[in-house]
């Protein structure tokens, strides 16, 4: 484990990380991101891609009106995204990767998905604004972990980051990572508030340097527009690739996960993102899938994506387009 590297970092290290972050060519980045949409993915590959995307989805409900009943319904959808899959497709579809809820709902979700292999992710640290004192935010993490969360989605203090107080942001990430214990950490950069790609890259490098192997960086809370976009995600994937290569030379090769969240609604979008992951992060061996093409290193934060994935799989199996009432979801 490389967690010791993170723990011994100083504010001087953090400032250096931000200063050394490469600048981003916005025009090239956007051009390249558009290019991923031009691949032709048909039949068997498409079905495989749709199922993979389904198994990578964090089914999310983050509303003020969330109730235990709503969370239980969400969990049922997470376990069995398409209740008639065996009849229509002739096979069981994978469950989604995780359900993502507020800390108060962690216990309910934990109870529902116990034994299914689905993780419970909880947003914490004053989600979505991050405007609480650090003590309150850490306490929230501890409560969520104690209630049974496998994953913690934290928000960074964008105000501090934009004001140049990088050490403060790095410190809160380190403390949150420590408070997570065995739970995985996802650091939400809220790229919609970071304004420039250069800032996204700096924040990505700062977060990556302060989290553990297998932790995630995540684009957005879903409460700010724009949420995840392909260029922003590509920028963060490049930061992850650079980290892997940099650390790989010294033999430790840290793999940081990626989670675009918010704004990914269609199966087509999801396939574009998978193409982007495959072509940006590997594959290490030609002809094989990138090591990031797995739910342990790549996630989609979405609530409506599952409906469209199921709809496409249904269309490919039956040859007709589905109606709204065919779908189990919202």
């Amino acid at each position: 484990m490389t967690s010791s590297i993170a723990n011994t970092r100083t504010k001087a290290d953090d400032v250096r990380t931000v200063r050394e972050a490469p600048s981003v060519d916005a025009v090239m980045l956007e051009q390249r991101a558009v290019g991923f949409k031009t691949r032709s993915i048909k039949t068997a590959s498409k079905i495989a891609g749709l199922k993979l995307a389904l198994s990578m989805t964090d089914l999310t409900t983050l509303e003020g009106k969330d109730s235990p009943e709503k969370v239980r319904a969400l969990c049922q959808r997470a376990i069995r995204p398409m209740p008639d899959d065996e009849r229509v497709l002739g096979e069981r579809l994978p469950s989604v990767a995780a359900v993502c809820v507020y800390p108060r709902m962690v216990g309910v979700a934990r109870e529902c998905v116990e034994g299914t292999g689905i993780c419970v992710a909880s947003v914490a640290t004053g989600f979505p604004s991050g405007q609480s004192s650090i003590g309150v935010r850490l306490r929230e993490v501890e409560e969520a972990v104690a209630a049974g969360a496998d994953e913690i989605d934290m928000v960074i203090s964008r105000g501090a980051f934009l004001a140049g107080r990088y050490g403060e942001v790095a410190e809160e990430i380190r403390e949150t990572a420590a408070a997570c214990g065995r739970a995985h950490l996802k650091v939400i950069l809220e790229t919609g508030e970071l304004v420039t790609y250069d800032n996204v890259r700096r924040a990505s490098d700062l977060a990556i340097a302060n989290i553990r192997d297998g932790d995630f960086i995540k684009t957005s809370t879903g409460k700010v527009s724009p949420a995840a976009t392909m260029p922003v995600t590509l920028c963060m994937l490049q930061a992850i690739a650079d980290e892997f290569v940099r650390m790989g030379r010294s033999g430790s090769g840290r793999k940081i996960g990626m989670k675009p969240a918010g704004g990914i609604r269609t199966a087509k979008d999801a396939l574009h993102y998978l193409v982007m992951v495959q072509e940006t992060l590997g594959p290490l061996t030609p002809g094989e899938a990138s090591p990031w093409m797995t739910p342990t290193l790549f996630r989609f934060g979405a609530s409506s994506l599952v409906d469209d994935l199921v709809r496409q799989l249904r269309r490919m199996a039956t040859g007709v387009y589905a109606a709204g009432y065919d779908l189990a979801g919202s």
Binding site: V320, Y321, A323, G324
Partner: protein
């Protein structure tokens, strides 16, 4: 300096209030009646059909909930817009459909009148088609017509304008949203009609118009589970059975108008409430009466 660059019109599709090209990138040529090139038009694919059905589905609920009087006013406004552009439509019918000047004028006039007729029906067909049923008990028993939802329309090749208007107007006057697939020969008239709709306060998505090869879209429209009814005219026997077969899977209402004669479309019988009945469902409700 008198030589201007010619401004050639390229006909697009009409989906969700916008005029996109076909997702597939395909086009086809529209010929004048004498065989020379008139324009290029978009050749809609099944994915365009899917997009149009999605647009229609999301627009239908609000359209249905809008007051019947308002739906009638909007249809009347479409008639006003068509009246204002009658020269353009008459010219298209002459050069593409090959009608003589008198026939072209007659078809445009009939199309405008048909819109006005169904504008009038919007708040009246409920009384004509609905009923207060006699029952043995202290109850009132009502049967009320309600919009069926998303209606796919296959329009005849001729009369290109009047046929399309005669199928769209009754469906939307009842509160349905439509995806109309125009006849293959005269897409220009259909898209000009779309421009009329776009400037008539018809909400985006309530009327969607596709052009291309109707035969190619028939199986997809018939099988699409989010289409609630299909109204077609000018389809051959094989296409009619393909429509009925696909529609059987989720019990769509299918109405196929057999009107091989062009003149038949001009008859007053095309303005009756039975044309609205092709795209409605009846709901019967019991209510305790105060005895």
């Amino acid at each position: 300096m008198t030589d201007r660059l010619a401004v050639q019109k390229t006909y697009k599709l009409f989906i969700n209030g916008a005029f996109p090209r076909s997702e597939s990138g395909r086009t086809f040529t529209v010929k004048h009646a004498d065989g020379s090139l008139h324009a290029h038009a978009s050749h809609a694919s099944r994915k365009d059909l899917r997009a149009a059905v999605e647009a229609a589905r999301s627009a239908q609920r609000k359209w249905d909930a809008s007051p019947a009087v308002l739906r009638g006013q909007i249809l009347y406004r479409a008639a006003e817009m068509l009246e204002g552009r009658r020269d353009e439509f008459a010219a298209l019918l002459r050069v593409v459909d090959g009608l003589d000047a008198e026939d072209a004028e007659r078809e445009v006039s009939a199309s405008i009148d048909r819109l006005v007729a169904f504008a009038g029906w919007a708040d009246k067909f409920q009384q004509v088609l609905g009923s207060h049923n006699p029952v043995a008990g202290p109850y009132d028993n009502f049967t009320m017509p309600e919009a069926t939802g998303v209606v796919a329309i296959f329009a005849p090749e001729a009369p290109s304008l009047l046929g399309l208007v005669s199928l769209i107007a009754p469906a939307i006057c009842a509160g349905n949203a439509v995806v109309a697939i125009a006849g293959a020969r005269s897409p220009g008239v259909a898209i000009a009609l779309a421009e009329v709709c776009a400037t008539s306060d018809v909400p985006a998505g309530v009327i969607n118009i596709l052009t291309g090869d109707p035969g190619e879209l028939i199986p997809w429209a018939a099988g699409h589970r989010d289409v609630d009814a299909i109204t077609a005219a000018g389809v051959d026997d094989a296409q009619a059975s393909a429509l009925r077969e696909g529609a059987g899977e989720n019990l769509k209402r299918v109405t196929i108008h057999e009107r091989p004669d062009r003149d038949a479309w001009f008859e007053a019988s095309c303005e009756g409430p039975e044309w609205i009945a092709a795209s409605i469902e009846f709901k019967t409700a019991w209510h305790p009466s105060a005895v």
